[in-house]
């Protein structure tokens, strides 16, 4: 039998008032916390280590091991900071999770905090999702009223405060040290490492920074045990994960499946490509992961297989584009995004993304020169590995991979505008007549 879906986090998202504590408890919520509080904290860490859970925010580092890197308690505070700054283009899993079932995250925060000896946890949510912030504030209120947050939680003697903090619009704050600076009330710029957050994080204290989905997966692991979790996924990429299909598919949406499922399987579940058109290119895990093409439909979507095929599993943000789409237009727009979001701290990224956008914009206009492709690749080479943080590296991924698979389209940019080769109205979901010669590039 082909791989099927495995709803764990998503199992009750369609329940009536799914976001309330009542609904969450009616469906088994907070059993994990009760079980965890009856365990020794280090045993909770061991259980998560044994489950093989890897970070769901993109890098895929083993979550339990990350917790294990905290130095021994010295009597001072240690912090858990949840990275809920979901902003990677194409990524749309944590925001719906927190909208539909914020208690999943809150229970995970409490268990994780208990496991690592934290008494004040923070959820840093991007500021551009008003209703999600409302739901998170309410979820903490409800958890507090039920005795899950505050002092002497469920009579265990364990105390925890949770602060939900709204950001103010900056992609870079998804980078964990930039997030910590932002949470400290500074400009969100990445820090020099070492020291790493586990040693000197928030307020220079030992800190764990984890993604929303990682933390929300913890209650299930504590209830079901490490072996339950490992029944799903592959040997090295265990468990369930949210796969977010968007773009030119018939039924875009969230599909929670064991890691290792393929896009071919997911596409079939999503009703195939819209209008039966052909798949042209897709991202396996957001715009910072090198693009794939139709030849990668059967790559198992786990960390190892996607890496071996030349990309990264990233956030499982499957942005799918059909044959009507100009890859030059897509890549130019992503590049403008990186230029806009570059924090300006380091030169390769700040200057490099600016020049990448300049060159790509003229290729998109059909005014590229014969040297431009090499110039693009040279610029990428001068950013990749030389930038202060991963934003610069990510900016090069769509460009180098798109040139690898679709070099002729960039070459065509020496004489023909992208919107002539690929009229944009054919890619849109509705009929419209584009402005003649519209040039939107670099409007901000």
């Amino acid at each position: 039998m082909a791989t099927t879906l495995a709803p764990v986090l998503t199992a009750h998202w369609d329940a009536d008032r799914s976001w309330t504590l009542q609904t969450y408890e009616d469906n088994g919520g907070y059993r994990g916390l009760r079980r965890a509080l009856n365990m020794q904290a280090p045993d909770v860490v061991t259980m998560v280590k044994d489950s093989g859970l890897r970070g769901r925010g993109g890098a895929g580092f083993p979550t339990g091991m990350k917790w294990g890197f905290l130095p021994a308690p010295d009597g001072g505070p240690r912090y858990l900071v949840v990275n809920a700054d979901e902003s990677e283009p194409g990524t749309c899993k944590d925001i719906p999770l927190m909208m539909a079932s914020p208690q999943h995250l809150i229970e995970g925060v409490i268990i994780t905090s208990y496991a690592i000896g934290c008494h004040h946890a923070f959820i840093y949510v991007r500021g551009e999702v008003l209703h999600v912030y409302r739901r998170l504030l309410r979820a903490v209120e409800e958890a507090r009223a039920a005795g899950y947050v505050g002092t002497d939680i469920l009579g265990s003697g364990y105390d925890l405060e949770i602060t939900v903090h709204a950001g103010a619009g900056a992609y870079i704050c998804g980078e964990e040290t930039a997030l910590l600076d932002s949470l400290e009330g500074l400009r969100g710029q990445p820090r020099l490492k070492p020291p790493f957050p586990a040693v000197a994080g928030l307020y220079a204290r030992p800190t764990v920074v984890n993604n929303v989905e990682s933390i929300a997966s913890v209650p299930g692991i504590v209830v079901g045990g490490a072996d339950w979790f490992k029944q799903m996924g592959t040997e090295r990429s265990t468990g369930h994960g949210l796969f977010s299909l968007s773009g030119h598919v018939t039924n875009p949406g969230q599909y929670e499946a064991p890691l290792g499922i393929t896009l071919r399987e997911l596409l079939e579940m999503a009703g195939g490509m819209r209008g039966g058109r052909a798949l042209k290119f897709w991202t396996p895990g957001g715009s910072s992961t090198p693009i794939f093409t139709a030849e990668h439909l059967d790559v198992p979507l786990d960390y190892e297989s996607v890496g071996a095929a030349g990309s990264m599993l990233g956030t499982r943000a499957l942005q799918i584009f059909d044959e009507t789409t100009s890859v030059v237009r897509a890549v130019t727009r992503w590049t403008e995004f990186y230029k806009h979001e570059s924090c300006g701290k380091c030169t390769p990224c700040r200057e490099g993304t600016f020049w990448l956008a300049q060159v790509l914009q003229r290729i998109e206009r059909g005014q590229g020169t014969s040297a431009d492709i090499d110039l693009l690749l040279d610029l990428c080479d001068n950013i990749l590995g030389r930038a202060f943080c991963a934003l610069g590296d990510g900016a090069t991924s769509p460009i180098t991979s798109a040139v690898q698979y679709f070099r002729e389209e960039f070459e065509a940019g020496c004489h023909t505008p992208a919107d002539v080769l690929f009229p944009p109205e054919r890619s849109a979901l509705f009929d419209y007549r584009p402005r003649s010669g519209a040039q939107l590039a670099g409007a901000h």
């Binding site: 998202w13 209120e141 602060t163 939900v164 709204a166 103010a168 619009g169 009330g185 910072s288």
Partner: protein, 295 residues
């Protein structure tokens, strides 16, 4: 209260809050500061609070933050100018943001942007003369399965078209209430929104839906097909269950697969995936090697 000229011709800034307003803001600020171990962390929510009062990050708001937190106005301004949600001139009653990042743009976001910009006669980060609408090109707002997306005061308006967006801004300009696809029952004002973002709930969390169709598409499909995750050990598997392997029960010996940082299965050897996470890999790699040196 004194008034000084702003940098925009004809614009003036009030330079201080009156006594009552100051007392009210000071009480709010004290609540914000109490949420954090260190008071400087209160700056971002305090800037949202300033916008809730003045509709933008005003000079007097900057001065208020600086005085309250014991930092300079330059330090406050440095932060305020870093983040796109902090507005440097008075914002409209509603921020209308059209996602023009790649996916939304290609699905029709560019067409929506062109249409609204033409209809309203304004460009990015400009405000209509009636003060109703500030138009923005926005980046990915994590709703790609609902593309093309428009945000109004950061509430979701999913699956938009030029026509639906046109109707939306028409209602906003006419002062009629509009309801987001996923959010509260109606969109609040920019100032009201800013107060929530400062961490003061408006009691509307229980309004609206839990999810839209695409969000629950997998949930519904799995139920229709009887697909379930493995049952928890000790739980009764449900009748609908087809694909679940029998629970193997606790088996500690099988559960000891712990990749070491730097091994081929660890993320430390992989290139960074996203800005959000790559640093973790570098971090643990370094720490693991440090530990290895110590042991």
């Amino acid at each position: 209260m004194s008034v000084e000229a702003g940098r925009t011709p004809g614009q003036t800034h009030r330079t201080a809050y009156d006594e009552d307003t100051h007392a009210r803001l000071a009480a709010d600020a004290a609540q914000i500061i109490a949420r954090y171990p260190q008071e400087r962390s209160a700056l971002l929510p305090m800037l949202h609070l300033v916008q809730a009062e003045d509709g933008y990050v005003s000079p007097r708001g900057i001065a208020f933050c600086a005085a309250t937190l014991g930092i300079s106005t330059a330090e406050v301004s440095a932060v305020a100018t870093f983040y796109t949600q902090y507005k440097r001139h008075p914002n409209g009653e509603y921020t209308v943001g059209v996602c023009t990042n790649t996916l939304c743009a290609i699905m029709g976001g560019d067409a929506i942007w062109e249409h609204l910009s033409d209809e309203l006669g304004i460009g990015h980060d400009e405000t209509t003369d009636d003060g109703a609408i500030t138009l923005e090109r926005i980046e990915c707002n994590a709703a790609c399965d609902y593309a093309p997306v428009v945000m109004v005061n950061w509430e979701f308006f999913d699956n938009q078209t030029p026509e639906s967006a046109d109707e939306l801004v028409g209602k906003l300009r006419a002062g009629e209430p509009v309801a987001p696809t996923r959010g509260a029952e109606s969109v609040c004002s920019f100032k009201q929104m800013s107060r929530v973002l400062a961490g003061f709930p408006d009691g509307r969390a229980d309004e609206g839906v839990g999810a839209g169709g695409p969000t629950v598409r997998g949930t519904v499909l799995a139920r229709e097909n009887g697909w379930e995750a493995p049952a928890f050990p000790g739980d009764e598997p449900s009748d609908a269950q087809q694909s679940t392997k029998p629970s193997s029960g606790p088996d500690a010996s099988a559960a000891t697969h712990t990749p070491k940082a730097g091994d081929e299965q660890s993320s430390a050897e992989r290139p960074a995936a996203t800005a959000a996470d790559s640093s973790a890999a570098q971090q643990e790699n370094k720490q693991a090697s440090d530990e290895a040196k110590e042991s």
